[in-house]
């Protein structure tokens, strides 16, 4: 008779949690799997910029867990986590339900922190989920719409200024994206797009400081300046307060104020607060749990921790999607090993480089930290890589093919538009021109190759006479010598 095992519970449906669940199912994991997550959709965070601009649709960037787990035996529980009792092997949810587990995966990710800056939480827009991205989009479009009808130049300027707080990768990517998309939106509303200001505010003296992407600093800096409206850098600016109308900051000790009606916050994140209640002796300064190379908690080997919640003392990993994906796969592998009576193995995470979006259709790929591919090709590599990371092959395939169709067949280009308005050659007009050119060239080539035959055949049309009259030099009347 089969023994009934307590379920393996995965806390958090981010990259680590989701990919752990999917890899477990792929490996025919014999025990029940329950994934507990507050939201009903997975958020593919690196593609949130595409969601903001409309390059990708919400269904592509944020698939529903219900769809991802349909017919594969993974139970999805949408609820908020209230408590984790490691000694009792029990998790309690906000709804009051308790779940006993055999194995636990803690993949709760991180949360936005505002460092207790007054007004930040109330007045700044974070950018970590689809909801937040769409809220920011709505706010921006509202400001642009109001600005297009505002006569007062000072008020209009305030409406058209966007401050992005934090010049880490998220801040740089968001600023680049906004500096390309806002002029387009505002131009469509009839405004003067050159009035738009995007200001990137950073505490330190350089962008991407201390980040895995710091090697790309020069490329990123150049891209910030090359956008449709150049991104202004406000460095060494310590944000003191965020008000509904702007940012109070201190620059080299001098207080100052940046008027801006939209303030996007990418200033920082902290691991999930629930970690503070666990294993206090094994946390680093950031609050992450120290794990063994197998990603298990030292005192509770049945518990695995990954992503932003985990800290590997000997080999710290950057908080990127590729690390989280590989950790999810490693955790799944080790859970299967435990279920099969084998020992877990250290998680292997290979960093294949970094990717950044530096505007619409522009990006940079730093491949294996050696080769930097910029521009449109960098964008294609970034986009392709992320689409391949999308969860579940069928979703991945669907989105990739949709994107490829858009990119290769220019499906975004409406067929009804006047070519003069878009500055792009409509295929029909271009091909017609080529055909007309060939029609002009054909008799000339014939005449050059077979002058006698051409003359005999075309006498009735008058073209040979016309050509003879146009020729300033005497014809040799022989075929060109072919060797």
């Amino acid at each position: 008779m089969d023994r009934i095992y307590p379920p393996t519970i995965i806390l958090g449906g981010g990259f680590v949690g989701l990919f752990t669940a999917l890899h477990l199912r792929q490996q025919n994991y014999p025990r029940p799997i329950i994934l507990i997550e507050q939201r009903d959709r997975f958020t593919f965070k690196p593609l949130l910029y595409e969601l903001l601009t409309g390059e990708l649709h919400p269904e592509q960037v944020c698939p529903r867990y219900a769809d991802l787990f349909s017919n594969n035996g993974i139970s999805f529980v949408q609820d908020r986590l209230d408590r984790i009792d490691l000694p009792q092997r029990l998790v309690t949810l906000a709804s009051g339900k308790d779940y006993a587990y055999g194995n636990l995966v803690i993949a709760l990710g991180s949360q936005t922190t505002y460092f207790n800056i007054p007004g930040a939480e109330d007045n700044a827009f974070p950018f970590t989920s689809a909801t937040e991205a769409l809220m920011l989009k709505a706010r921006l479009q509202d400001c642009l719409q109001t600005a297009s009808q505002t006569k007062d130049p000072e008020q209009r300027q305030r409406l058209l200024t966007v401050a992005v707080i934090g010049a880490g990768p998220a801040g740089v990517e968001l600023a680049c994206t906004l500096a390309d998309i806002l002029p387009v939106w505002y131009d469509m509303m009839g405004g003067d797009y050159e009035e738009i200001r995007v200001v990137l505010v950073n505490r330190s003296e350089s962008i991407l400081k201390g980040d895995i992407n710091s090697r790309l600093r020069q490329t990123a800096k150049k891209s910030l300046g090359d956008r449709t409206v150049a991104v202004e850098l406000l460095l060494e600016a310590v944000v003191m307060e965020i008000t509904p109308t702007g940012v109070k900051y201190s620059h080299k000790g001098q207080p100052n104020f940046l008027p801006a009606m939209t303030i996007a916050w990418t200033g920082g994140t902290v691991p999930h607060p629930l970690l503070q209640t666990l294993s206090p002796e094994n946390r680093n300064q950031r609050g992450q749990l120290q794990v063994m190379p197998t990603l298990q908690l030292p005192q509770f080997p049945e518990v695995f921790v990954g992503g932003d919640c985990a800290y590997l003392q000997d080999n710290p990993q950057p908080p990127t999607a590729q690390v989280a994906y590989q950790q999810g796969k490693a955790i799944a592998h080790n859970l299967k090993a435990l279920a099969d009576g084998r020992s877990p193995v250290p998680a292997q995470v290979n960093l294949r480089g970094t990717l950044m979006k530096l505007g619409i259709d522009e990006g940079v790929a730093n491949i294996f930290d050696r080769w930097e591919v910029k521009g449109e090709l960098g964008h294609l590599i970034r986009h392709g890589t992320y689409l391949e990371l999308l969860p579940k092959p069928i979703h991945n395939f669907k989105v990739t093919t949709e994107w490829l169709k858009d990119e290769l067949l220019q499906r975004h280009q409406p067929q009804s538009i006047n070519p003069r308005q878009v500055g792009r050659t409509p295929l029909v007009a271009g091909v017609t021109t080529v055909a007309a050119s060939l029609a002009i060239a054909f008799p000339l080539i014939w005449h050059a190759a077979q002058p006698e035959q051409f003359r005999q055949q075309m006498t009735g049309t008058g073209i040979p006479t016309l050509i003879e009259r146009m020729m300033p030099l005497r014809s040799v009347d022989t075929q060109p010598q072919r060797q």
Binding site: G54, V184, Q410, P414, V422, T433, A448, P451, P472, Q479
Partner: protein, 171 residues
């Protein structure tokens, strides 16, 4: 004077005029090369026998580089005028300016190499061509391409196309 200072100079029109002139020049060159294809010292003969001047007149005692081998020269001779007609037309019409312009630059570069950068042997005017004017053709074409690509409006148009926003604007 004031009205002259306030006179609106349209960069767009200047670039468009320049683009049409360039395209037309190549179009007519292509036709001319086919018309003069087989005449004495005509286009075909020139391509087959022309020694590449590269920089300028050969130094005394040196006969210069040999002509292109027939394997290259014959297809080049037959295809170059055709390319001039087609690509010149497309360029003049403003179609695929980036790519047609690049092809025109390459074609002009090959002609410049054939006849030398300083055909007269001196940069100072001395009765013969002092400086191959084709070089300026290349820079002008480059300017047309750069204008097409780099203006902010062009970028915005590309973005709008990319995001399918133009339909909304037109409606």
């Amino acid at each position: 004077m004031e009205s002259l200072l306030n006179f609106k100079i349209s960069l767009k029109k200047a670039v468009a005029l320049n683009r049409i002139t360039m395209g037309l020049f190549f179009f007519l060159s292509g036709i001319g090369n086919y018309l003069n294809f087989n005449v004495d010292n005509g286009f075909f003969h020139t391509v087959l026998t022309q020694r590449l001047l590269l920089w300028g007149p050969f130094p005394a005692g040196w006969e210069g580089t040999p002509p292109l081998p027939p394997l290259l020269a014959i297809p080049y001779a037959w295809l170059l005028p055709l390319a001039e007609i087609i690509v010149g037309t497309l360029f003049a019409m403003g179609f695929w300016v980036r790519w047609t312009g690049l092809l025109l630059i390459l074609m002009t570069f090959s002609i410049t190499l054939a006849f030398g950068i300083i055909p007269g042997g001196s940069l100072f005017a001395n009765g013969v061509e002092s400086f191959n004017k084709n070089i300026m053709f290349m820079t002008l074409i480059w300017m047309v391409i750069a204008y097409e690509i780099d203006t902010k409006k062009a970028r915005m148009r590309r973005t709008m196309e990319r995001l399918n926003l133009l339909e909304k604007t037109i409606q």
